[in-house]
């Protein structure tokens, strides 16, 4: 493996993944623990003919990438909780105008400015419900430097394919971790569909894919984009039927394609009597704990969410095997566990395991937890 492997930090891998995926516009406001993404993009964008802008704040940052996206660029911004809070308005707007954008949120300890240099997984529900109104986003969760690279590529592709915001939900540990990765294989790229004829052009008209072919700004098409409810023409309306159809379509364009969007990683789920469900950095402690438990004869398994949202209850139920006990370790006071409980109700014993002191959950702590809780 040595020849092609390069030592890279998680944040650098996000930046390089974005570049490999065709991102040529970055606007952002640096914030720990995401700042190395901006640092890398500031250096790399001019080298690949792209644009880097340091904006005055995170609201401006997300609006800049929405604008550049509507002009046809593949785009990225990176932030952490406090900045992600500011971005929520723009995130909702991007959902509504169907601008393909990718946001890296590297989670640090919150609420508010919290602890800038300490890890958490406290933004999980913010990615899903941070902006107001019924809306749908895709959220991908890397658990390594390699996956930071690969999932950023995937995020750009999914954003373009479905014309939807995609959030890469990383954390302080993965952002600053260095691991060897192979970036020598050029990725498969997805390009957004564009209108072919100007005659009868309506920016938000869709075919059975439910994904509109909005023209890139400046290509000669007459396009209106607005956060207000709009029909196929892109112009505002207060017609309830149009509104209902629009919001349903925003949902269905993703939910009709869950096989394409949703990914899990499972480890020895089939015969497990205790199953861990986790995401991101926490899954790496789980992975080692499962290995140890198995070596001691305990039937443990793991389900790691690579796609966190859309979250499909049926798929989770099917992937979870028959384990009587499901443990949900996470670096917050219990967010993923809400979804897991929704899936299983009282049919399984669902046990939260939470840590909120700014440190990781170690494999040993997981083993101790099972013992202490008699699981």
């Amino acid at each position: 493996m040595s020849e092609k492997m390069v030592l890279m930090q998680g944040n650098e891998a996000v930046a390089e993944g974005a570049i490999a995926a065709g991102v040529r516009f970055y606007a952002g406001y640096p914030i720990t623990p995401s700042s190395e993404v901006a640092e890398t993009m500031a250096k790399r964008m001019p080298e690949v003919g792209g644009t880097f802008i340091q904006m005055e704040d995170e609201i401006a940052s997300i609006m800049a990438i929405v604008g550049a996206s509507l002009a046809g660029k593949k785009v990225l911004t990176a932030t952490s909780g406090p900045g992600f809070s500011l971005m929520q308005e723009g995130l909702g707007y991007a959902c509504m105008v169907e601008a393909p954008i990718v946001i890296l949120d590297s989670m640090r300890y919150g609420p508010s400015t919290g602890m800038a240099t300490k890890v958490s997984q406290m933004d999980l529900m913010q990615t899903r419900w941070g902006t107001h109104g019924d809306h749908w986003v895709i959220v991908l969760s890397p658990s390594s430097v390699e996956e930071s690279y690969q999932l950023t590529i995937r995020a750009v592709n999914l954003a373009e394919k479905y014309r939807n915001p995609v959030i890469v939900l990383s954390d302080e540990t993965i952002s600053h971790l260095r691991e060897p990765i192979d970036i020598s294989i050029p990725p498969v790229l997805v390009e957004r569909r564009l209108p072919t004829a100007k005659a009868d052009y309506l920016p938000y008209r869709t075919d059975e894919s439910l994904v509109p072919t909005v023209a890139n700004v400046g290509t000669g098409f007459r396009t209106s984009c607005t956060g207000l409810v709009h029909g196929e023409s892109g112009f505002q309306t207060a017609n309830g039927h149009v509104a209902e159809a629009l919001v349903e379509r925003l949902r269905d364009k993703l939910f009709n394609n869950l096989d394409d969007i949703i990914q899990f990683e499972t480890d020895r789920v089939e015969d497990a009597d205790v199953l861990f469900m986790s995401f991101g950095i926490t899954a790496r402690g789980v992975s080692e704990a499962v290995e140890t438990l198995r070596s001691h004869g305990r039937k443990a398994g793991s389900l790691r969410f690579i796609t966190l949202f859309p979250f499909d209850d049926d798929r989770v139920r099917k992937a979870a095997g028959n384990a009587r006990t499901i443990v949900v370790p996470e670096l917050n006071s219990g967010q993923l566990v809400l979804l897991v409980k929704r899936v299983f109700g009282d049919s399984r014993k669902v046990v939260p395991m939470n840590k909120i002191n700014g440190d990781l959950i170690s494999p040993q702590e997981i083993l101790n937890f099972l013992r202490e809780e008699n699981l």
Binding site: T173, L177, I281, L360, S362
Partner: protein, 192 residues
């Protein structure tokens, strides 16, 4: 926990000593030899003048949990570093301290670590190489002398990747100095 091929290193000291860079250099040397690594550090204002920590895990296999939990080697270059990040050692842990800036703590003995190696790292660097820079590379030499975790020539290559040409000679001498210090201890019959 883990397997026998897993090697865990923690280095702690003062921001500016280059310990994080040292861990990156050793990580890159290990990668060149086909091993896998995870490298991490304490992150924040502490790293710029305050107490700092760099961690490295090297293994022949996939590394699941990326942080150091049971170090094979703990190197403390300041007293404050040892205080803040010296916990979590076990009887498998070799401890290296810089005796020119700190005294050996009473708390470390055969009961709670594999061995304590107190070497006058900083003062030897200054007297032998007339330099205050290169402490991290002397330490890499000491780690290499103790563990032979990678081939010395690979380590030299990795150092060369990170060092400006005009400082290359100094850094190679610093590496040699570290290895010599370990050899001298071994020759003196001190159990390391």
């Amino acid at each position: 926990m883990g397997n026998d091929s897993r090697f865990e290193l923690r280095m702690t000291g003062s921001g500016g000593q280059g310990l994080i860079l040292g861990s990156i250099i050793l990580a890159e040397a290990a990668i060149m030899e086909g091993k896998t690594v995870t490298q991490s550090q304490v992150y924040g204002a502490e790293a710029r003048g305050g107490t700092t920590k760099a961690e490295l895990v090297i293994s022949d296999k996939h590394i699941a949990y990326p942080k150091v939990t049971d170090p094979d080697l703990l190197a403390a270059m300041t007293n404050e570093g040892l205080k803040q990040y010296g916990g979590g050692i076990s009887r498998k842990t070799r401890v290296v301290i810089d005796s020119s800036v700190m005294s050996a703590p009473d708390s470390l003995d055969e009961e709670n670590c594999r061995g304590l190696l107190a070497l006058p790292i900083r003062s030897t660097l200054i007297s032998r190489l007339e330099s205050e820079l290169g402490l991290n590379i002397v330490l890499l030499g000491i780690i290499e002398g103790l563990t032979a975790i990678v081939d010395v020539e690979t380590l030299r290559k990795a150092i060369a990747m990170h060092v400006k040409k005009q400082f290359l000679d100094l850094n190679m001498k610093a590496l040699d100095l570290g290895m010599e210090m370990v050899e001298a201890q071994a020759r003196a019959g001190i159990r390391i």
